[in-house]
Assembly symmetry: C4
Homo-oligomer: 190 residues x 4
């Protein structure tokens, strides 16, 4: 407890969790909604060109779905974690700002994937950004567990329970990126 | 109740409805506000060109009004449904994320309608997106009714009362799309 | 009271004012923030061109300040009105959605003013949009006063007190538009 | 107290702090999220061009990180200040609207820095915008201290404690801008 108190004293008292979550939900909502801006066809496409442009939207729409799913999963994880948090530590709030920076960045690799899906680097950057979010999430879990701020998950490995989702999701993205990059027509560039 | 409890156990406890609604309202507000980005004229239009560009904005403004009305109606329906929900099931929250994905997607068909109103496909995609939202809304109603989470609407068909709005609105959009596509100068393309 | 109850029965019960205000604040915040997107210079401007482009931003920055002030004043008026509302009528909530549609539209005339300030029509459309918002605000006041939902303002004309701000602000914008249009180099177009 | 009461009477009663903070958090969240829009490469860049475009993103990403940090720090300062405010004065709320205008403007100098980092003027405008935010923050502190609305910070200079962060941050930005401008290859333009 003493350390936690110090944490809070450092930054001038208790944290207003309501505003932290309002800012977080705002960033998640905008990141979710900006994704649609990558689904677009040229204004001057008509007739055959229009149909070709629409058919060519497939990677953009796939990118939208993947990124929406990713940000949705990240939000659900954020929601579950902060619901359990019993103490509002300034250190956690700083880590939350780093997490939000990485979430707000996600439209960039998402746009890369939609428009430059033929480049292996796009997959690496996308996976890197997502895994970085899970890393910060794991850091928040680690700090919270060390301070006893969250209840261990029931099961055989109570301390590891909270890490299960970020670690497995990170593994999925790492494998996805490796498969995409190695099986990629454009990998000769690297 | 047992199933509901299981639902919640699966995802680690009770859902914080406040944050779910904050995220939902954020997505609706941004979708409403992004629509205006399609109403624009070229920067370099002056004099006669400016007046012609302004006159040519008619479909973009019509698209803005239709899409605003659609998202407004969807938000009102969302607001009424979630106000009545007595139990906060994880399954409903997942369906809500799917619904939000479809709402966040709406600026794309709205932009298609504004800029490619001469293509029949634009109407089909627009109606498809809107009807998909109503479908998910009906699914949320169905799951909630089966679990007894919402009070039946008064009237002769209490169980059907909740479906009246999504079904009739879907029918309106289906008819609108069929009329627009069949009566369309560009339908020869299909 | 009977009419109010009918109003609410029509739309299925009491309105959740919290969500109405969350959506409203979201739309206002996004409209305020989208304005900055009109302040931009070409990516390829360097050296002399850069300085010329920066100097040419003056109308865009003036437009930003005016539009920010307008949306800020509209938000303050919205905030004061809804704070006083004792009953949550569905009719008021529908009028609020119309008001938000007009607020969400404001970035368009604001962009016109920033980029096409040499066209008289831009001023007319800008003033028209702002005055339309004040008109809907006056309608909300009228409906609320008729139902006795808001306390009359103190002063000699208690029923008129609430209209003072929207009417005087509308007059300012009407005069501003007339001055801008008649004293305008481009008015020969009309 | 008398003056505060007058303040509030001028604008028609007590301020709904919840909505003021909701609007503020919305503006901060959108300003944070719009920053990512400057990190983009041309759609048509492929192969070598793609890698070159990605490598050329370094200033854009540096700009994103700096601006995110700046807006994050501004939000934390806003959050700490408004948490301590005991009285909700209309004057403070007006100053808050000015502060939000400057926060909503930040994506513009941030974009300048990302795309025109070779121009000394970009640094001056960026620092000017940030220092202007800290100035308004100091004004809010000054008004609040004069009215006794915030508790003095503990320490040797209790009245100055609140100014420590805005003054030191402003100094950092002033020095940063001077160093960037004087040590700049493009300073011959001035």
């Amino acid at each position: 407890m003493t350390e936690g108190d110090e944490d809070e004293k450092d930054t001038g008292g208790e944290v207003d969790l309501g505003r932290v979550l309002a800012l977080s939900d705002g960033v998640f909502a905008i990141a979710l909604t900006l994704l649609v801006l990558d689904i677009r066809i040229p204004d001057e496409a008509h007739g055959e060109d229009f149909l070709r442009a629409m058919a060519g939207l497939e990677p953009a729409i796939a990118g939208y779905l993947i990124s929406y799913l990713v940000i949705g999963v990240l939000w659900l994880a954020h929601h579950r974690l902060f619901r359990e948090l019993r103490v509002r530590r300034a250190r956690i709030m700083s880590l939350n700002m780093v997490l939000l920076a990485l979430v707000a960045l996600l439209p960039f690799p998402s746009s890369l994937l939609a428009k430059h899906g033929d480049e292996a680097l796009s997959y690496a950057i996308y996976a890197g950004n997502v895994i970085a979010v899970f890393l910060i999430q794991s850091l928040i879990i680690a700090v919270s567990q060390r301070n006893g701020d969250i209840t261990p998950k029931p099961g055989r490995f109570p301390r590891l329970g909270w890490y299960l989702q970020p670690i497995s999701a990170s593994a999925v993205f790492a494998v996805w990126a490796v498969v995409a990059i190695t099986g990629h027509p454009g990998q000769a560039n690297y």
